[in-house]
């Protein structure tokens, strides 16, 4: 597939926002003391990230002025469900922040935000995982890697804020989990990349055309230049570029952030937390680019030769 930056930013920014909210909700529900200022700032960061993600999604639409219609088919479409759950998640985070700012502390706002964050991961991942003939996506790994990378990014950001604002109890409770989440996300991603590399496409030119004589090759795709089919479903990047993006994704997305977090945990310094955030962000963008670029759509069988 041709990775669309609108969708890459939608999923990575929203995933980070969900991770921050889940980290804070779990801390709040398990009774970790957090200052009001910290909670409002962290939840505000999550809300801003999710709002930017929502705004990015509009750039993927040909007719953004009709976006409201996308809430209609929630019974059958995971995309429709995501369109409903993402604003609900933002509203829950903002509501929780507002209640905290007013000095109310009830267990239901973090619980509601937690449930919506998890529901959003399921919706986002299922948009891809439900397309059964895109083998790279149609696997539980999609849900696992989306939620784990979001959790890793969110925990890292929550801890960076906590370190800056001297939220010692939260940092003690969540610091190690940020490292564990980053390592787990990296392991899950490596396993999913290994699975992708070993996949054998189920569709072949023979099943796509029904021509039984062998070998079959395409002489003409029926047009002299490209079409939507050649623009949308091919990433047009060289194999070397894809390899480099993969290296950047794994090193900047998981290895370096884990090293920075370990450094921060060992020394108690604030700077390594922010270094982790800064290096992780482009790494996860590269990782999500790779997620889209690696998906081999069966329609590509019909578009192998411009002539």
């Amino acid at each position: 597939m041709n990775p669309a930056f609108s969708v890459i930013f939608l999923t990575t920014l929203s995933g980070t926002a969900q991770g921050v909210v889940v980290a804070l909700a779990l801390a709040a529900l398990s009774g970790v003391p957090m200052s009001r200022g910290y909670q409002v700032i962290a939840l505000g960061c999550a809300a801003v990230l999710a709002i930017v993600a929502l705004a990015a999604s509009f750039f993927h639409l040909g007719r953004p002025e009709r976006a409201w219609r996308a809430a209609a088919r929630w019974r059958t479409s995971w995309l429709s469900r995501e369109v409903i759950v993402l604003p609900a998640f933002i509203a829950a985070a903002v509501l929780w922040a507002w209640l905290v700012a007013r000095g109310t502390s009830a267990p239901w706002p973090p619980l509601l935000a937690l449930l919506l964050a998890v529901a959003l991961w399921v919706c986002t991942a299922m948009i891809y995982a439900c397309l059964r003939f895109i083998a790279e996506w149609a696997h539980p790994f999609t849900l696992v890697t989306f939620s784990f990378t979001g959790l890793a990014a969110g925990l890292t950001l929550a801890c960076a804020l906590a370190a800056t604002l001297a939220e010692t109890p939260l940092l003690a409770a969540a610091g190690a989990s940020a490292l564990v989440a980053t390592l787990l996300a990296g392991v899950a991603r490596v396993l999913s990349l290994r699975r992708n590399a070993a996949l054998k496409p189920r569709s072949t030119l023979r099943t796509a055309t029904g021509i039984t004589a062998t070998p079959i090759r395409q002489i003409s795709m029926g047009m002299s230049a490209g079409a939507f089919n050649t623009r949308e479903f091919f990433h047009h990047a060289t194999a070397a570029t894809v390899r480099n993006v993969k290296l950047i994704a794994l090193v900047a997305g998981f290895v370096l952030p884990a090293a920075c977090i370990a450094w921060a945990l060992a020394t108690g310094a604030i700077a390594p937390w922010w270094l982790a955030v800064l290096v992780q962000a482009p790494g996860l963008v590269a990782d999500r680019w790779l997620f889209f670029a690696q998906a081999r759509h069966p329609q590509n069988l019909y578009y192998q030769r411009v002539a």
Binding site: L79, S203, G210, A213, P215, M221, A225, Y302
Partner: protein, 207 residues
């Protein structure tokens, strides 16, 4: 009723008359316009509902050239329909045609991702998803002579490689052709049950 095309790969000569006739009817019909971009430049591109591709099979000197018309297959279980977030993509109960409501489509392209055949093309001018309509604005039009109530591609084909009819009616030309000449669907592995079928080539050995 399930209207469909049955394409005879024995007689398609790859003349692209179905392609141009489809474009002509649909760019001016209820589905149009089908936008072209850079039409006179080095990289012309545009929206088409129907393409004729060419394949070569076998090893020289025993090779054959197969012209392969390709359009929306109007699947009986279309994977593009349930994924549509707005309901713009739908399958008609009365005749089985899969259509897009261009007034509801938001151009999110998710239906195109969900079609294993690449049958859908986003119109770059109107920014909505488009696809073969089986000339729905033509086949039911009682103002036309009965012989003209066929898709434009079927009317245009000079070798009668394109049959049109109801594959659920066992007496129809299309159902008989599928039955008697081993008509097959594309990518049967995905259980989409394409309504369009293809009639395989029968190689006549030289005496």
């Amino acid at each position: 009723m399930q209207l469909a095309l049955v394409i005879d790969l024995n007689v398609c000569v790859g003349c692209h008359a179905c392609v141009t006739s489809c474009k002509e009817w649909n760019t001016g019909g209820a589905a149009g316009p089908l936008t072209d971009q850079h039409a006179y430049a080095a990289d012309p591109t545009g929206t088409f509902f129907n393409r004729v591709q060419t394949y070569e099979a076998g090893t020289f000197p025993d090779t054959e050239t197969i012209h392969f018309p390709k359009s929306c297959l109007h699947c009986e279980d279309p994977p593009c329909v349930p994924v549509c977030p707005t309901g713009a993509s739908y399958k008609r109960k009365e005749d089985g045609i899969v259509l897009v409501d261009y007034d509801k489509c938001i151009g999110c392209k998710y239906c195109a991702w969900a079609c294993p055949y690449g049958a859908r093309e986003l119109d770059e001018g109107r920014q909505v998803m488009t696809k073969c309509t089986l000339c729905v604005d033509r086949i039911h039009d009682e103002a036309l002579a009965p012989d003209d109530r066929k898709p434009a591609c079927v009317k245009a084909c000079p070798t009668n490689a394109r049959l049109f009819g109801d594959i659920h009616d066992p007496q129809s030309d299309v159902a008989q052709a599928i039955r008697e000449r081993d008509g097959y669907p594309l990518m049967p592995e995905w259980d989409t049950k394409p309504a369009n079928h293809y009639l395989p080539r029968r190689v006549n050995k030289a005496p």
